[in-house]
Each structure stands twice: as C-alpha cells, then as structure tokens.
Symmetry: C2
Subunit: 441 residues, 2 copies
Amino acid sequence: MSEPIQGPKGTRDFYPEDMGVQNHIFDCWRKVCRAFGYEEYEGPTFENLELYTGKSGAEIVGQLYHFKDKGDRDLALRPELTPTLARMVNQKGSGLRKPLKWFSIPRLYRYERMQRGRLREFFQLNMDIVGCDTWAAEIDLISAVIEMMKEFGLGEKDFSIRISSRQVLSEFLEGLGVPEDKRASVYSALDKRAKIGEAEFCRLLEKEGLIKRNIDAVETFFNCKTWEDLEKRLDQFKPPGGWSSAIGADALKWILERLGDLGYQNFIKLDLSVVRGLACYTGIVFGVYDNAGNMRAIAGGGRYDNLLQNLGGQPVSGVGFGMGDVVLADLLKEKGLLPEGRQGVDYYLADVLTPADVASAEDLFGLPQKELLHLAQVLRAKGRSVSYSLEVGKLKRQLAEANDQNACKVIFFGSDKAPIGSFEVKDLSSGEQKVVGESEL
Amino acid sequence: MSEPIQGPKGTRDFYPEDMGVQNHIFDCWRKVCRAFGYEEYEGPTFENLELYTGKSGAEIVGQLYHFKDKGDRDLALRPELTPTLARMVNQKGSGLRKPLKWFSIPRLYRYERMQRGRLREFFQLNMDIVGCDTWAAEIDLISAVIEMMKEFGLGEKDFSIRISSRQVLSEFLEGLGVPEDKRASVYSALDKRAKIGEAEFCRLLEKEGLIKRNIDAVETFFNCKTWEDLEKRLDQFKPPGGWSSAIGADALKWILERLGDLGYQNFIKLDLSVVRGLACYTGIVFGVYDNAGNMRAIAGGGRYDNLLQNLGGQPVSGVGFGMGDVVLADLLKEKGLLPEGRQGVDYYLADVLTPADVASAEDLFGLPQKELLHLAQVLRAKGRSVSYSLEVGKLKRQLAEANDQNACKVIFFGSDKAPIGSFEVKDLSSGEQKVVGESEL
C-alpha cells in the first residue's frame, strides 16, 4: 500500500455535506438572476494567454496558472470571467441584440498566497449588462445584489453597498489640477487606504508631490458620507472655470435617489474611497461589504465602458459585478444561514427479514428482494427519492443506515403489521409510525 | 482596434441558448441521481500529476494537460473524476459509512485529436457506489442509467445497455488455456473489434499466437447474444477440470434476470464484446449505446474492485459509470429532444409613453420611471421573473425586445385602458390581451 496522494494546495474537496452548501449558494444566485431576467452563459476553463496579458499591468497576470498545450500554444486557467464575456460578445458582434443581461457561475483560478477568504480555486457569480448606456443598468444590478443578499437571509445590519464614481473622482482630481500622470498614484494609494490608514495615505500623496491644499481636499472629499456632503465639497473645491462635466455627479445623485425610492436607503452608503482595484472601471463603482468583520468585501463591480473595445471589439459599454463563494460562505456560516448535514432521501426501504429470510438472504450474498426493488421503482416514478440497503443485513443495521442517510421516512418492507397493498411507515423526525396504503406514499 | 482574440481549440462557448441545453442535461442528470438517493460531490479541477500517472500505462496519461505551479509542483487538469473520488474516499478512510452512493458532474480535460463527439473540454456525469460487494450495486446503477435515458425522452428503440463481465471473459480465456500474458492482447483486440471488423479481429488473435480452435471459441463466445447462448458455450468449451469459478457467470445471470424483473428486458443486451477500455474493471462492465448511428457509446462503466487500493487506500470495491455531455447532446438533438431558444422571463414591462413622456424620457437619457421599477420589484418578490427596457424608447422597440427575450407576457405600463391598480397584459404566445388586477399578476 503506497502513501495516500493529497489534493493540491489551495483547492477544496466538496464532500456531500459541503456540496449541499455550494448548491444552496448556486441555487440562490441563479434564482435571483433569473428573477431579474438575466440569462446564464459559460465559457471555457482556460483561454489563450493573450486574452489576459493584453490588459497590460493588471495585477492578475502575476497570479495566472499558465501552461502550454501540445501544440505549443500558451494557455491560462481563467482568473476572471470578464475577458471571456468580452471575447464572446465581440465574436458575435451585432448578432447579439443589446443590451444583454447575462450571468455566469464560473470556477476561477489564481495562484496567490493563501489566506482567509482566498483560495487558488474558487467559484464566482458574475452578473453583467452589456451595451446599456443609461444608469438603469446600475440600478438593475445594485437592486439584484441587494435582493440576492436578502435571499440568503442577510439584512441591513449585516451588509452595505458602498458606492462611488470613478468619473467624479477623476473630475475632482482634474479640477484640483492634479496632472493625469499623478492620478493613477492617487487611485493606487486610495486602494490601500483602508489597510494603511489615513496618516500613511496622506504621506503617500505627499510623496507623489501633491500640495498640502490638494491633500486636504482629497481627504475631505473621501470622507463625504452623503450626497449633501459631497455637493458641498464639489462646491467648495470648484475650480476657477467650474467642473468640466457634471455627468459623473448627476449619475451618482440619480442612482442614490432611485435606490432610495426602491426602499434600499439603509443598504446604500456613499463612499468615495471605494475604488475596486485599478482595472477597467470608468463610471460608478460599488462594493458589498460585511458590516462587521473588518469590512470584508463580498462583491464588487462597476461600469467599464472601454473593456470590449480594448479586447478587440466594438466600443460597447458594460456594467457588472462579481461575488465569490468563499467570503460569502464564511459570512453565511458565521450568521448560521447555511444548510447543514446531508440532503437526505424521502424514503428508505428497510427489509424486515424473518430468521428464515436472513438465512436465505445470506445465501444470496445479502441481495435485496425483487419486490423491494420494484417498490423503489414505483416510488421513484412518482418523483420520490428512494434508497435501500445494498447489502441486506439485520434490521438494526438498516435503520442505522437510514439515519445516516438522513432519510425522512422508513418503510418496513414485509412487516406483518401491514396487510397486502399497504406499508408500515415511520417518520424519522417525529417518530410517528403508521400503516398506509401504497397510494399515500 | 486590434484583431479579436479567439477561444482555445476544442473548447466551447455557451451562449444563453447553449446554456439552456446544458442546464436541461444537468437538471435531468441531477433529478434521477437524487431520486436514486445518490449524493453530489465535487473535487478540484486539477490534481497532483502523480494521481494519474500512478495507474501506469493508462492511455489517458498521453492526453493530459500538464503544468507546473509557481512552487514547481506538477499538476494536471483532471481527465476523469474516478482518481479524485478514490483520493477523497481514501482520505476520509473509515470516517465514511459504506456503501457510498455518490454522483458528480465534473468538467474534464483531454488533449486529443478533435472529432465528432470528442472535445478537449467536456462535462461528464459520474455515478459511483463505493464499498458494496453485492451485485445490488450493479442493479442500482444500471436501473438509474435506464431511468435517466427515459427521463430525457429516449426509449427502447433509441438505446440499449450492453452488458458483459470481465470476470467471465478472463475465466473463459483461462479455461481455454490462453496464458495470462496473452490475455491483455485479446482485450486490446476486442476493444478494436467494432471498428476493425471480425476478419481483422481474428487475424490479430492469430498474430498473438492463438491456435485456430481458440480463435473459433473466442469468436463464438463473443457472438453470444443471450444468457442461454452463453450457457451453451460455457458448457461446450468447458476445460477438462471444469471452470475455476462460476461467480462471474452467476453474477451476470442474476443481474440479467433481475433487470428483466424490473421491466428492463428490452433495454438490456448481453454482449461479451463490450470491454470499455483496458482500465481498472474487474467484474461486470456495461455500455449505453445509440441503437442507430454507428453504435456510439453514450455512457460506460463497470465494477473496479482494486482501484482505491491501487491509489493508496484500503481494499474497497467500487462500481460506477460515466456519461459525457457531448455525444448525449448530439443524440438528443437528432431526436428533437432538446429545449430550444432562450429561457425567457414571465413578464416584460413595456412603458407606454405619451409623446410628452417621450420628450421628457429623452431628457433623462431614456431612464425607466420609478413606478415601473417598483412594479418590477413587487413582481419579483412574488417569485416572477421580470425584465423591462433599460433604455426606454418607442413602444415598438420595447415590444421587439420583449419578443427577443422570449417573454411570456407583456404588461403595458401606463396604458390608459387600465384603471389605477390594474394592468393591461398581453400573452405573447396566445396573443390574448386583457386588463387584470395587480393580485392576478
């Protein structure tokens, strides 16, 4: 006997109990996506490497599982689904009527240092609207993410959606006279702000050459918590010629108002420090955060107006978000909102053998009787899930198996208490035991 | 604009219509597995390479997508799930109560020459019973596979299950005096028999040094189509000392009888030429074949009593089968048994704008009204799937979108035919149009 082989680091085995949890999460995701009229799609697990390296400088490229196939082509396990979405939409071009509302539950792969909530292989819900230029897309997606969290049993005490606008941020920095080549450093500092703290954040800005007045302005700006606050600051720091464009601020205002109209005001927080990475976002960005537990990000997304074009397609806009399974499952587990135990069957058929039967059954290597197999067939045809002992032995052992399999009811097959055409049935949760006709099963 | 990037060879993109087909297949697989009391599990997409190379000589090793991670560990995308199953069962050891009835729908990867029904990335249903030594396991799995094919709408005219026994075959060759080191060549020839024809098959056996009498015996043996035929041949070719063991034949007989008792006689065919690869099978083997179309194999499996032990675990027996999605979908498509088109929504909310509204809506960049968003929210809370135009324009354009989205019903929001609290609704399949109260939606 050789040494047992282990599974790879950073991956998970899903035993039936774990799979019950996964299926609960997937079912809930699918249910809400479908209620909102999103259609499911999927792509390949690996893509040509260039699909990811094209977005130069993306942090994700350093985390790729990259390999060559036997035709010497460079491939990579997908680290995210959006490039695949862009490729698929680009390939069909105008054959797809826009806007598209699509969702997917891909398995994704990132080679990264393992820590809580991070694995090298995980699942992620992706919801995207492609080809919609109105802010109705943002409303639709943010409503969906709130309804999804509620569907899991989470309420306004548990999570919040923090909303910002890359456009407002960019306009604000432009208005302050921060040159374009410095703005990326500000975003980068901003992305680290929650981790490094305000003091360190200001030091970073100083290092980048921002003058005191601008650092103060940026800091005040990021501390705005309401639309009224923000409006005041936009007024206070208005550049001599006025703001170049007010569209970013108008969008943000309209979206906050409309989400309030829909009764979501207690889930929504304006938070201009939300950046959601440095990637492709061009407009509204948002993140779903756990209200306790160090503000863990459960989901994040925003508007990316140039992504499809950057990947070789038409200039088609997009809005989308991703929600991973790992952090979500941790949160749901903490709140006691995950199903536990095995899924179970409706009926377990236990064979009530007489001592004579036992002898004969043993002769037959413990094979189940054909009449019992037939009953299983009849019940399954009625839509019931049914199991029975595959190695018939003592009744006690069969009942232990029924319990282990989390059966709802046990049928005592061959019980002398049940006349022909009827069965003695025990409900394992209530303990109730009675004789019922076949039609009642 | 750069050249659009393509997806990798041998992989598929699942657009919403394709995903509808996939989900139909997955749902049907899951439904029957659960009815039979099988529990779902999953493993990682990639495993340590040694999990596959350990089974020396397997054809599958030449088809692996193999790569190194950044820690220089050798990994491979899984070409099949059974080694993962064995690893998972071995890792928990006696902590898992046997027998286990488990199923999974893994995505699998094989680098092979592309041809009809073969892709480099595909899905496969795996159903396995681990730790059951009685033939009840074979009955349970073969019954499940038949019920599954019926669930897809296929009948006895469409497919058959061909059953053989590696044990009977091995005993037969032993009885004929074919030495053990020649038997592998016979299996290999047998595996090619359907492709190369009987004449070429006999020539191969001759080349392997089998004498004329044995070639005739093997040929007669493989042509047995019923249990009675086989019994006659076993008698005819009985070696001087009798058969070393009759267990293989007894099992085959009992299994054929019991499947007949369950009403499956027209689905079942004894066919000793079924080998199902050269891998790990030790007892009953079976394949599900398309009755037309060149006998394509839709599924295949059998008993593998040594696999878990070979992979470093306890000597625990297993029976299982795999059914790929590609050949199955081809067959279902040919028979017209696949769903077509997009999944659709229950309601599409069309905004009946007055000319004045249109002007104002255009001012607002075509944003939907808040009352319409509220109605969508109310209907979704009732469990309905709802969509609406994200860029409100002319009614005609909205109705075209509703049709394109395969909506069941359109609500004419703001129609002057509907008093307050009621809505004008059109059923898009019947064309019927009427005014109903909100509670009836």
